[in-house]
């Protein structure tokens, strides 16, 4: 018997949780499905609401058939998933979480995750370097990426270097994300790299150099956004010419919708937007959970879910979807370093980037 149950908003979460945890104590009518569920193998996945369409379309049906199991996908925000894990630490009901990397770090710190190994998840061996973190605490199954979004009416050829943004001809035409947005951080590392000329793996720690270099961008800045749609609207109207650190998932979608924008992957490289998956420590049906992760890290599933999410696959056997950079350098962000210093950087950003 297979049955798909999905919930997609934080609003229904309470009801579901109540049902799952107090079902047995309530009347038989409610207790019955609880017992049935326990017999059919089931895993509950905590993920993002935006994951729901492709999980339902490309992952769930095949998986449920193959393993004679049931998946319940709770789509919400990363921080909400973290909270769910914290609250139910003694008796977890989530088996798997799909969360952003920075939140994964927090979960690791709280001891909520359990490492995965290639022995249990064979497809881990097929992953690109830099996609398994903290000794297997989590892995990236997809890499939406950050590059430069540009207006195709103004720039006839895609920018080939991040340094182009410093060209005086772009006076007041460049937009960057705020440091308070997660997508704002890669710019800092990229400008550290531009300033020092050292390889990214060394350069990114030189935050002083980063600020020194990115301050040169000030005359060219139109604004520092905290609302991405606003930034893209300015880009599409031609008021802005480039967004540094734009998300492929957003920019490619706009291009598909017919907006005069495109995404460039400059020679210095691009940054993956971390889409991680991990096992909840002590979660139910561990083997099934590992099987699910293995599927998601596999070439077959990734080749299906990469195109609609405008992301790069992490499995080396999965083809890069058309329109995506095939040979771009992909830098990994040291999220632990970020978590430690971010508030300090935000403060400094306020002072040094103020208009």
């Amino acid at each position: 018997m297979t049955k798909i149950v999905t919930t997609d908003s934080a609003g229904t979460r309470l009801t579901r949780r109540t049902l799952l945890h107090t079902g047995a104590a309530l009347g038989a009518g409610i207790a019955m499905p609880g017992i049935l569920r326990a017999q059919a193998r089931e895993i509950v996945i905590g993920g993002a609401a935006s994951h729901k369409p492709w999980v339902e379309a490309h992952v769930m049906p095949a998986f449920e058939k193959k393993y004679n199991a049931r998946i319940t996908f709770e789509g919400t925000k990363s921080l909400v998933n973290l909270e769910k894990m914290q609250k139910n630490k003694d008796k977890p009901y989530l088996s798997i979480v799909q969360m952003d990397d920075p939140v994964m770090i927090l979960a690791v710190k709280e001891g909520l995750l359990e490492p995965i190994t290639p022995a249990k998840v064979p497809n881990m061996a097929k992953l690109k370097p830099g996609t398994v973190h903290m000794n297997g605490m989590w892995a990236n199954y997809l890499q939406p990426w950050q590059g430069i979004a540009y207006n195709t009416n103004v720039l006839k050829t895609p920018p080939t270097s991040w340094a182009e943004a410093l060209d005086p001809k772009f006076k007041g035409r460049i937009i960057v994300p705020s440091l308070q947005n997660t997508e704002g951080l890669p710019n800092l590392f990229m400008f550290a790299h531009l300033a020092t000329g050292k390889p990214m793996t060394e350069a990114y720690k030189d935050i002083d150099a980063a600020f020194r270099e990115i301050k040169k961008l000030k005359p060219n800045l139109l604004t520092v956004y905290s609302q991405m749609p606003q930034a893209f609207s300015l880009l599409e109207q031609g008021e802005a010419h480039m967004i540094l650190g734009a998300l492929s998932s957003f920019g490619m979608q706009r291009r598909l919708d017919g907006a005069p924008v495109s995404m460039a992957a400059p020679k210095e490289g691009i940054f993956p937007v971390p889409s991680g998956i991990a096992v909840v420590k002590g979660g139910p049906n561990m083997e099934l959970a590992l099987a699910y992760i293995n599927e998601l890290l596999g070439a077959e599933v990734q080749s299906k879910i990469a195109p609609p999410t405008f992301a790069l696959p992490t499995n080396v056997d999965a083809p890069v979807p058309p329109g995506m950079p095939t040979d771009a350098k992909i830098h990994t962000i040291d999220w632990a370093f970020v978590a430690e210093n971010r508030n300090e950087w935000v403060k400094r950003w306020d002072r040094e980037m103020a208009s």
């Binding site: 007041g172 440091l179 604004t223 956004y225 606003q230 103020a354």
Partner: protein, 278 residues
Amino acid sequence: MMRWLPRDRMLWLAAPALFYLAFFYAMPLIYLLGRSVIGPNGPTLSLFAGFFADEYNWRVIGNTLRIALLVTLVSLVIGYPVALALARARGLAQVMLLTAIILPLSVGVVVKAFAWQIVLRRDGAIAKLLVATGIWDEPQRLLFTEPGLVIGAANVFLPFMILPIYSVVKLIDPRLSEAGATLGASPIYRFRKIILPLTMPGLISGMAFVFSLSVSMFVIPSLLMGDRFQTLATLTGRSFLLMRNEALGSATAVVLLVLAVSIVVGSTILSRRIGKAA
């Protein structure tokens, strides 16, 4: 024995609002205040000492006050004549004017911000007009500048300036101005000595409204100025929402509250005095 209870029973009609304010406004505010003055080792003002020792925070306070004052001033200059016209208008003209003033309130700030982008951008209507009239040699940037923010915020808060003034103006006997005229007073003298002092209560409440709204605005600066321009309100929001530094957030919120309240109260007292002296 129930002597402390209000004798006028109608006063009880205010009770639900008072309870509501006490629970949902006063209590959280007191909590916030407490947060800002109680440290791990008991009461302390170190949070404020630290806040005021940072030169950057003075800039933020300056930004906050400068923008709020400019927005208030622009709203006043634009709104006052409108309020006078609105009070004078009759019939359909008045209905249309009122609708034009109130209806924009139903359009969210985010939508407005997008609309302003179209008007304010370098190939937008304003730039084209200024270039066409020769005031500008070439299109300049208006978006994400302080003038742009002031214009935008004044646009949002204008009804809060117009309506209090209007409600006072419409109560003024039009014969007072006529009486002034027959006494030999020029239109300007009549405005200064009759209309202005009599509309002062409306002006004060309008300015208090707009100042309070603009000193604490959060979404408008982040949309119209972006992240490079911090005010006390945006700094407070960021402390709570991003940096998870509730102590700092409480401190900035308290500074903002104290500044706003003292300026509104102070200017009200001052304007009343000026109004009486005029």
